[in-house]
Point group: C2
Chain length 443, copies 2
């Protein structure tokens, strides 16, 4: 046994790990507070002190909710990476180009480790950054980039490392989940709740990052890379935001025992890697169905472990800073992992596959209320090989326009068969407007 | 930047990590299967091969569901620890004395790392073993000891390391949860379902380990040590098994919107460390309330992260072996942690505190059905400072014995006040038999 085998954590008075913190918004200030409040606790756990030596943000004069006087100030974040008194660059500025990307590249060039909350940066440039970091002997950790305070990167990369991962699912954008749950509880249309969310400050400057599913898609693409050993392939994520989710569907689905969630699913089949981030129905009484407001949930499935479900806060100062500090303390303890859990050079290019996994579907359509209309729809489904689990016809008593809303929940059907049936519906001549089809995921 | 800074995982053809596996029951064979099935996957993730070199069990001739022919056989598990071709001893034999303890001590003496699924061993001897291991430069990991496949030790020790942990809760014995959910769904009394569980092989050889709450108490005591930086204090866990949970209470609680779970709670207050593993009522529609059968759930609360909930399989070959392999791969990757997340010498002796945290309570009692009986009970509650949230009186129409069942859900009350009220009830002279009081936990 040699001294090198001693756990780091027994060296309680070891060399401090020195953070250069880029970004002093909500998350950055959250990191400052934890480092200051829990200095002793963290030193005991990490086996060495963890300190901040330098910080960077655009405006030094801005009033911030923390005492930063002990830290060197760098107006240019890239200067952090060059400082001799910085071991780890913590990047919580955001943005997938510009200063965040430049800082990350500068940190790698300077041989500094990086802890980041930046899902967009890694979704767009993660593979190249991982290659560069590993060539330079640097570590990139990004727990805070996915699902806020839930340590899902750690669980997937480390805790389940003995598993072939079979599927990853998740509700990972709190703003979308807030909007969908608020629409349902208040019976309000999308546009109204969207405006509420904007006024509450829940939306990104570009709201499409949230409601277009892009932010959640970024997160899913990072989980996919770890889960399946593939190069990050955000461009291949089948993305559909929540802007087309109507209050009618939310209400009608609820009547049939389902809630609508913006749900990510990634799985590897013989055909390739399926990644989708789309509105789905989930059983109302399931853990996913019960998820309220900004809470996130991630489901991980492995060949040995079966299914692990994790729920927690998806954003906010405390939870996101908690995730950042988990990564920092890992580095202080000497844990050095490849970015996506195996050497970047060993990650294979993902072969994208359109989703072919059969699932039940929710179909809503408006029919002309005349004899034989419903039979034509049922025939079109039957011809596509799709059988019906539930059907409801809702006549609209207060209208004189002889239309009926028909809701159908199918048994499991392949997505291609559903597409085929929808095309056939159009040719029946009994449909008013376009039908709605939403996949049902039963976790 | 030096060679020492390269992540282990880039060294894909590094020195193999060699396992000596003690115990070839369900979990041991699960470990063999993962190592054999996923050799390439694990090597890619760990940056080096992980192999089994030697195994040990009592009976070599026993027919087992795996090919062990490539491994050296040691009938005496202690001999594994001495082998030059073993880096990590994996102990999945069980038992808190005897061979498991002797093997662990021998491994430490030989400077070998240890991965164990043995909650009983660590609950009874964890502090001493941790001190010895750290003095010898060895690592002890025990993910598989708590909550089966859920990586809760990792999440608590690493992912949430930046948090002051405020509370830990969990349903962590699948057999008890099976019995309680089966009683409820089938309307069967405890004794009947206990016999079913025995015949299904769900019970330990000493069933009191399960139904007495001891196994779950062991697990809670390990989580407490990590969460609060205290020496493992299983002896201080307030233990109450499920043997006294009646089908009447399960049914009546269900009518009032609650399910009964064997729930562990650990929290640190100014008075000391509260640890209890007792039957509790939880809201039927809460994640804990919906937990079915052998599934486990752990709730972790930290000052920054808020609340993280994890759900997964609590036992079984695959899930438990998954947890073992997570620890083994951590070691292969070079992660070396103190047993309880900080140096054992820095863990403080826990000051045990009886639970004083107020909670609502469910009370069931049988009263003589005569004027003023209920008033006496209500007065006794009022005198103890306890107010009533819900009350139901259930007269028993088919009996002639002039008794009534009274159910009360209180507002939050201190446990001591509840005890005081129960004593007062006894002096009213209107009670038939002893009242039942069960704490309600609202997660």
């Amino acid at each position: 046994m040699t001294a090198a085998r001693l756990p780091d954590a027994t060296q309680a008075t070891g060399t401090p790990l020195r953070i250069g913190l880029a970004g002093l918004g909500t998350v950055g200030i959250g990191v400052v507070k934890i480092v200051q409040r829990h200095a002793d606790l963290i030193a005991a756990r990490a086996g060495r002190p963890v300190v901040i030596t330098a910080v960077s943000a655009r405006d030094k004069s801005k009033n911030r909710d923390a005492d930063l006087s002990a830290y060197a100030w760098e107006t240019d974040p890239i200067a952090l990476a060059a400082r001799d008194d910085v071991d780890v660059v913590v990047e919580v500025m955001g943005g997938h180009e510009g200063p965040a990307r430049a800082l990350t590249e500068a940190a790698i060039a300077a041989g500094k480790d990086i802890v980041t909350a930046n899902k967009a940066l890694l979704a767009h440039h993660g593979h190249g950054l991982a290659l560069a970091a590993e060539a330079a002997g640097c570590v990139i950790r990004f727990e805070a980039a996915v699902a806020g305070g839930i340590p899902v990167i750690k669980v997937l990369t480390e805790g389940l490392a003995g598993n072939r991962i079979t599927r990853v699912m998740g509700v990972m954008n709190g703003t979308c989940n807030y909007i969908l749950t608020r629409m349902q509880s208040a019976g309000l249309p999308y546009e109204t709740v969207f405006e509420e969310a904007r006024q509450l400050g829940y939306l990104e400057a570009d709201p499409n990052l949230d409601v277009g599913g892009i932010d959640a898609g970024h997160k899913l693409s990072l989980l996919s890379a770890i889960a399946f050993g593939t190069q990050v392939a955000f461009d291949h994520v089948e993305l559909e935001g929540i802007g087309s989710v109507s209050i009618d569907d939310i209400t009608l689905a609820d009547d049939m025992g389902y809630h609508i969630k913006l749900l990510g699913v990634a799985q590897m089949s013989g055909r390739g890697l399926e990644q989708r981030m789309t509105p789905c129905l989930v059983p109302a009484d399931s853990p996913l169905g019960q998820l309220q407001g900004g809470t996130n949930m991630v489901v991980l499935e492995g060949d040995s472990v079966g299914q692990i479900v994790m729920r927690g806060p998806g954003a906010g100062e405390g939870p996101t800073a908690s995730a950042v500090m988990g990564d920092v303390i890992d580095l202080a303890r000497g844990l050095r992992l490849s970015t996506f859990g195996r050497p970047a050079a060993s990650l294979v290019a993902a072969v994208p596959a359109k989703s072919a996994t059969p699932a039940p579907y929710y179909l809503r359509m408006t029919l002309l209320d005349k004899p034989g209309a419903l039979a034509k729809i049922a025939t079109a489904l039957g011809d596509a090989g799709i059988s019906i689990d539930q059907m409801r016809q809702i006549n609209q008593p207060n209208t004189q326009d002889e239309k009926a809303i028909v809701l159908i929940v199918t048994h499991k059907a392949a997505p291609a068969d559903i597409s085929h049936a929808l095309q056939s519906f159009a040719m029946t001549g009994v449909l008013v407007g376009a039908p709605v089809a939403i996949r049902i995921e039963e976790v």
